[in-house]
C-alpha cells in the first residue's frame, strides 16, 4: 500500500523529531535528581497530565486487537468498558489523590516506595519490584513488535518487521535517557492526539466509503445480519456474565490504577491537587474518545467484512483500507495507511517509553539504591538512572526480536496480576491496624491466586484478577489482626504526613 520510501520517511521524520525534543528537554531541565528524571517531581500541569495518562494507558494494540476485540466481542464488550470508566473518578478520589498528597511530603520515585514507607519491609519492596518489573518490560517489548508489524503491513511486507523493530527500539533508546519522564510526558501529549485522530479518521472513513456516510443504514445492516453483535455474550462469546464483571474490574483497578506506569502518573506527577481533579474529570471522557473510535472501526469491519476469524480480526484496519476505501479512493487510502502507521508508531512510543522508564526506576531505585544500599553522589545516581533505562531499552529490543512464548502470557495477565496489590494500598492509606506481615502475605498469596486463576483453573480470561484481589483483601484483614501492631512512631510519621498534606491543600 505504502512504498518503502514513504514508510521509512514517516518513521525517520517522527523519530527524528522525538530525539530532538528529548535533547531539548534535557538541555532545558538538566534533570537534577533521579526522582525528577523518573516522576518529574510534581511538576506536570493538568493538561499534560491528562494526555500523558491516556497515552500511557493505550498500547499499539489499540490499532490491532482493539478493533478486532470489538469485532469479536460486539457492543456488549463496549458496554462492559463503559461500566468501568466512571469508576476512575471514585478510585482517584479515594486512593490516588491520597497517594499524591503523601508524595508531596515524602518524595516517592517508584510505585513500591509508598508501600515501603508505610510497611517498612525490604521483602515487600523486593516482591513489588519483581511484580511491577515483570509487567513493564514485556509490555515494552510487545509494543516494539507491534510498531514493526505496522510497518510491515503498511508496506505490504516490503519492510521486514525486524528492521522496523530495530529502528524504533534504537530511536527510543536515544530519546528516553535524555529528557526522562518530562520529555516522555510532553511527547505523549502530542502522540495522544495523533492516535485519537487516526482512530476516528479511519473508522469514519470506512463507514463513509462503505455506506456512503449513512450510519443508520450500517447499524441496520449489522442488526439484520449479525444481530448477536449487539447482545451478550457477543459474536465470539467473549462477554459472558463472568467476563462482564471481571474484565471491567481488571480495567478499573489493574489497568487504570495499578500498572506501574499509570500509577506514577496518577500519584506522583501532578503539579497540584487541582490537576488531580482535572485528571478525574477528563480521563473517562478521553477513554471514551479512544474506545469509541476503536469500536467504530470494529463495527465498520463487522458491517463491511463479516466472517473474519481469529487473528484475521486483528488486521481489520488495513483490511478496511485496502478492500473498502482503496477501490473508491486510492490516494486517500494511501494517506489513511500513513495515518495508521503514524498512529501506531505514536501510540507505541508513548506506551513503550513509559513502561521502560518505570522499569528503569525499579532497577536503579528499588533494587540498587534501596535494597542493595548503593550509596553514590547525585551525579552518579543520575548516570545510574540513565544507564538503567538504556540497558532495559536494549533488553526489550532483544525481547522484541526474540520473543519467547511467555511474553504474550505476561502481557495477557499484566493487568490482573497487579490487582491484589490494590487492597494492600487501600489498607496502607486508611487502616492503622494493617501490618507488615499482612501486606507481604496478602501480596504474595493474592498474586499466586491470580496465577492459579489463569494456569490451574483456566478462568483468567473471564475473571482476571478478581479472585486474587478478594483473597488479598481477606488476608490483609485476617493477618493484620493476627500479627503485632505496627510501631506507633512509624504510623504517626506516615499518617502525620498525610494529615499535613491535606491541611496544606484542602481549604
Amino acid at each position: 500500500m505504502l512504498s518503502v520510501t514513504t514508510t521509512w520517511s514517516i518513521y525517520i521524520l517522527y523519530m527524528g523529531a522525538l530525539i530532538g525534543f528529548g535533547i531539548y528537554i534535557w538541555w532545558k531541565e538538566k534533570n537534577a535528581s533521579a526522582r525528577h528524571f523518573y516522576t518529574a517531581g510534581n511538576t506536570i500541569n493538568w493538561f499534560v497530565l491528562c494526555m500523558t495518562y491516556i497515552a500511557a494507558l493505550m498500547s499499539t494494540w489499540v490499532f490491532f486487537s482493539g478493533p478486532g476485540g470489538y469485532y469479536r466481542g460486539g457492543f456488549g464488550y463496549f458496554m462492559s468498558e463503559l461500566s468501568y470508566m466512571p469508576l476512575f473518578p471514585v478510585l482517584t478520589y479515594f486512593v490516588m489523590n491520597k497517594v499524591w498528597l503523601l508524595n508531596t511530603q515524602r518524595q516517592y520515585s517508584t510505585p513500591a516506595d509508598i508501600y515501603d514507607d508505610r510497611f517498612r519491609s525490604p521483602m515487600l519492596r523486593l516482591f513489588l519490584a519483581v511484580v511491577f518489573f515483570s509487567v513493564s518490560l514485556p509490555y515494552a517489548a510487545a509494543i516494539y513488535m507491534a510498531c514493526g508489524k505496522a510497518a510491515e503491513i503498511a508496506s505490504g511486507g516490503a519492510i521486514p518487521q525486524s528492521s522496523a523493530v530495530i529502528f524504533v527500539g534504537i530511536t527510543a533508546l536515544l530519546f528516553m535517557p535524555f529528557g526522562g519522564v518530562k520529555s516522555i510526558a510532553w511527547a505523549a501529549t502530542v502522540q495522544a492526539w495523533i492516535f485519537m485522530a487516526a482512530l476516528w479518521t479511519i473508522g469514519f472513513s470506512a463507514l463513509y466509503y462503505g455506506f456512503s456516510g449513512d450510519i443508520l443504514h450500517s447499524i441496520s445492516v449489522v442488526w439484520q445480519n449479525n444481530n448477536n453483535w449487539f447482545s451478550y455474550p457477543g459474536p465470539a462469546e467473549w462477554v459472558p456474565y463472568s467476563a462482564r464483571f471481571g474484565y471491567p474490574l481488571a480495567c478499573a483497578i489493574g489497568w487504570t490504577i495499578m500498572l506501574p506506569d499509570v500509577f506514577i502518573r496518577a500519584g506522583y506527577f501532578g503539579k497540584n491537587l487541582a490537576a488531580q481533579r482535572k485528571l478525574m474529570m477528563f480521563q473517562p471522557f478521553l477513554q471514551i474518545i479512544v474506545w469509541t473510535g476503536t469500536m467504530v472501526i470494529g463495527f465498520a469491519a463487522i458491517a463491511l467484512v463479516p466472517g473474519l476469524k481469529g487473528g484475521e480480526t486483528e488486521l481489520v484496519i488495513p483490511l478496511l483500507i485496502e478492500k473498502i476505501i482503496s477501490p473508491q479512493a486510492m490516494q486517500f487510502a494511501a494517506v489513511l495507511m500513513g495515518i495508521f502507521v503514524l498512529g501506531a508508531l505514536a501510540k507505541g512510543l508513548s506506551a513503550a517509553t513509559s513502561h521502560l522508564l518505570v522499569a528503569g526506576s525499579i532497577i536503579s531505585e528499588d533494587i540498587l539504591t534501596r535494597l542493595l544500599h548503593l550509596d553514590v553522589n547525585p551525579k552518579m545516581h543520575m548516570i545510574m538512572a540513565r544507564l538503567a533505562v538504556v540497558c532495559l531499552g536494549l533488553a526489550s529490543l532483544w525481547l522484541a526480536l526474540n520473543p519467547p512464548e511467555l511474553i504474550w502470557t505476561l502481557i495477557m495477565f499484566a493487568i490482573a496480576v497487579v490487582m491484589p496489590l490494590f487492597p494492600v494500598l487501600v489498607a496502607a492509606l486508611y487502616w492503622r491496624r494493617a501490618t507488615k506481615a499482612a501486606a507481604i502475605v496478602s501480596s504474595v498469596v493474592g498474586v499466586a491466586t491470580v496465577l492459579a486463576t489463569y494456569f490451574v483453573f483456566h478462568a483468567g480470561d473471564s475473571w482476571y484478577g478478581t479472585f486474587g484481589m478478594a483473597v488479598s483483601a481477606v488476608l490483609m484483614i485476617a493477618v493484620s489482626y493476627a500479627t503485632e501492631k505496627t510501631d506507633e512512631k512509624v504510623l504517626n510519621e506516615f499518617y502525620g504526613a498525610l494529615a499535613k498534606a491535606e491541611e496544606q491543600y484542602y481549604a
Binding site: 517531581g41 510534581n42 511538576t43 457492543f75 456488549g76 458496554m79 463503559l82 461500566s83 470508566m85 466512571p86 469508576l87 473518578p89 471514585v90 478520589y93 479515594f94 508524595n103 508531596t104 511530603q105 515524602r106 518524595q107 516517592y108 516506595d113 515501603d116 514507607d117 517498612r120 519491609s121 525490604p122 521483602m123 442488526w223 444481530n227 448477536n228 449487539f230 447482545s231 451478550y232 455474550p233 459472558p240 456474565y241 462482564r244 464483571f245 503539579k271 497540584n272 491537587l273 487541582a274 481533579r277 478525574m280 474529570m281 473517562p284 539504591t369 534501596r370 535494597l371 544500599h373 510501631d487 512512631k489 512509624v490 510519621e493 504526613a497 496544606q504 491543600y505 484542602y506 481549604a507
Partner: protein, 90 residues
C-alpha cells in the same frame, strides 16, 4: 461534639451508589444471552445512571471540599528518610 463535615456524608453516598449501580449492571442472568434489545435497554438503565452518579458526586464533592489556592508543591517535600526505610524499620 465536633460536627462531621458535609463532604464526609457525600463521600459515603457517592461510593455506595457507584458500587450499587456497578452491581446492578452485573446482575447475572440479566439481560438474557442473545437478546439484543434487552442488552441495550439494560446498558441504558444501569450504565447511564452510573456515569451520572460518578460525575454528579464528583461535582458536589468538589464544591463541598474546596482547595486552597493552587501552588507549585514540587519544592515543598520533606526529604524521604531513606536510611530508616532501607533498614526495614525504626
Amino acid at each position: 461534639m465536633v460536627k462531621e463535615p458535609a463532604y464526609k456524608k457525600t463521600e459515603k453516598w457517592w461510593l455506595g451508589l457507584v458500587v450499587l449501580f456497578y452491581a446492578l449492571y452485573n446482575i447475572p442472568g440479566l439481560p438474557a444471552y442473545g437478546d439484543s434489545g434487552a442488552a441495550i435497554w439494560h446498558g441504558a438503565l444501569t450504565i447511564i445512571p452510573l456515569w451520572i452518579i460518578s460525575y454528579g458526586g464528583m461535582v458536589v464533592l468538589n464544591r463541598q471540599r474546596k482547595l486552597k489556592p493552587a501552588r507549585d508543591c514540587s519544592g515543598e517535600a520533606e526529604p524521604l528518610q531513606e536510611k530508616m526505610i532501607a533498614k526495614g524499620g525504626v
